[in-house]
Subunit: 317 residues, 2 copies
């Protein structure tokens, strides 16, 4: 199938026009408009077969997950989605492939409340690159920098589910997903919660793609602070515990990647507001520690014993 | 090298802050701001090794070209660049690779007047995906649709240079480029000219990536018109003619891709303005034909003889 037919027959029908999309799929570029008191938030995320998703996985699963991973960055900035572009690199583009891609795009649009506005379709080793765009009130975007000494450290949802699912991911490449495998294939994207945090609640925020152990460094480094994390408080995915026991599950939750939950800091005075925001937006939220002035040192506190944690996050190369 | 170090040491120093970039490289996402009378223009372009650029080509050449190809879509919309994100997929990321990538990004930023605002760096078969963002006065973006019966058909620059360069592209993968090979590696990006066209001059516009023969269909299809193209007027790259003779060069200019010149339509009454815009912006511009009411039929007229042209453009699959 030619790229032109793929776009006309499979992608254009998925496009929507809304008040902010002046021009969607099908031209040289898309055209969007913002309100005068808004800023544009942009993030790009690329997923390569065998590196970021298992060989042989259904295009539909991979594409909708890729959309979720990119939109998750919008959540971490406290932004509302405007739209995404999808660049598909695929070895072939027959009708079956086109149908699976369209199914994944439709699922991603629906699950992550973000319309498709354009993209590119090329031949090559399978990979997917998504650029997500969103909007935020001027000056309100949540950054990785900005944490203050004595701020609380919080995390949404539970951790270690994706890392546990990856242990036998080959059993979930096509067809129905188990509850645990859904955690990996359907990143949570805490959009409503992130938007709430951006209303003057959080001082810094990011989404966990490489594990708490690795990602927390970005917050500590940019604010030149340290943190004490209470091991007992880390919310571990119960399905992970049921399968791997508490000790192994802690490792998966602390060092494992792909959870796409939000890790953020906020002043102690905001605790009640954060808990209220969690229930309003149906988002589990847990206070797991506190920042301190020990430059870039992460201390793990477990039942009164403290150990210094060296960098254990996921490295891409 | 870890992705984090690559960004810190090689990419961040290339970032700029200007009044429209609230937050650049290094966070979960970039933040941009627009004026209230502007719209955002977004385009994504992916280049895969062996498909879109030759195996073994210098990362620096490939990256700067990828930036040019994406920014060219902004030119075709009449937009002013705001910034681009670059997703790099590379088999390895040692210091040498990092240096070549940084050299290509720096060249692209400089040549196409567009700052880098973010991206992603992942391991995998070599490819580069660029999402370019620009701004345009509200309602002024140049679309592929909008051409009118009797409009003139115009093209910028000259055609067939890239297709000719591709004939022996292996001789230009590293080091100094010949004048002909520069045509392929350094797409022209007619930004200033495109911005001028968007001030009420052109009725439709696109950039030529797949050849006139293929790309003109997008204009004809969306306006339900036909066109008569005068073969004698098609501006063929003189280096191509010198090497391949006139007849073969016509094929390269008419069917060959990768020229990234603008193909556009405008009312007859705009001829003088278009010629003046060409000299102001140092952009060669040639009137090559006329639109008519013969739905989607492209007629090639050569010295009084007319032939109907069937679709000959480049197919990606």
């Amino acid at each position: 199938m030619r790229e032109f037919s793929f776009i006309e027959e499979f992608m254009k029908p998925l496009g929507r026009t809304d008040e902010r999309i002046t021009l969607g799929i099908g031209d040289d570029a898309a055209v969007l408009c913002l309100d005068s008191n808004e800023e544009l938030v942009v993030s790009t995320d690329t997923q390569v077969e065998s590196r970021h998703f298992p060989v042989g996985a259904d295009d539909a699963l991979v594409v909708s997950r890729a959309i979720g991973c990119a939109v998750s960055d919008l959540a971490a900035m406290g932004a509302q989605p405007l739209g995404f572009t999808l660049s598909v690199t695929t070895p072939s583009l027959d009708v079956e492939v086109a149908r699976r891609l369209a199914k994944g795009v439709a699922a991603g649009i629906d699950r992550y409340q973000t319309p498709i506005i354009g993209g590119d379709t090329v031949q090559g080793p399978r990979s997917f690159s998504v650029t997500a765009m969103g909007r935020v009130q001027k000056g309100r975007a949540l950054r990785r920098s900005g944490a203050k000494d004595d701020d609380d450290l919080w995390v949404t949802g539970s951790l270690g589910g994706s890392a546990a699912a990856l242990e036998d991911i080959e059993s979930s490449l096509v067809g129905e997903l188990s509850e645990l495998h859904s955690v990996y294939w359907q990143p949570p994207c805490r959009l409503a919660f992130g938007q709430g945090l951006a209303k003057g609640i959080a001082t810094s925020c990011l989404d966990l793609s490489d594990g708490v152990a690795g990602d927390i460094r970005h917050i500590l480094k940019s604010s030149d602070l340290g943190a004490e994390l209470d091991v007992q408080l880390l919310p571990i995915n119960p399905l992970t515990i049921a399968r791997f026991g508490r000790e192994a599950s802690f490792e998966l939750a602390f060092q494992g990647g792909d959870d796409y939950e939000l890790l953020f800091t906020a002043p102690v005075a905001k605790r009640e507001q954060i808990i209220a925001l969690g229930s309003e937006t149906n988002t589990p939220v847990t206070r797991i520690g506190r920042l301190n002035s020990n430059s870039e040192i992460l201390l793990l506190v477990d039942d009164g014993h403290a150990t210094i944690c060296t960098d254990l996050g996921y490295g891409h190369f």
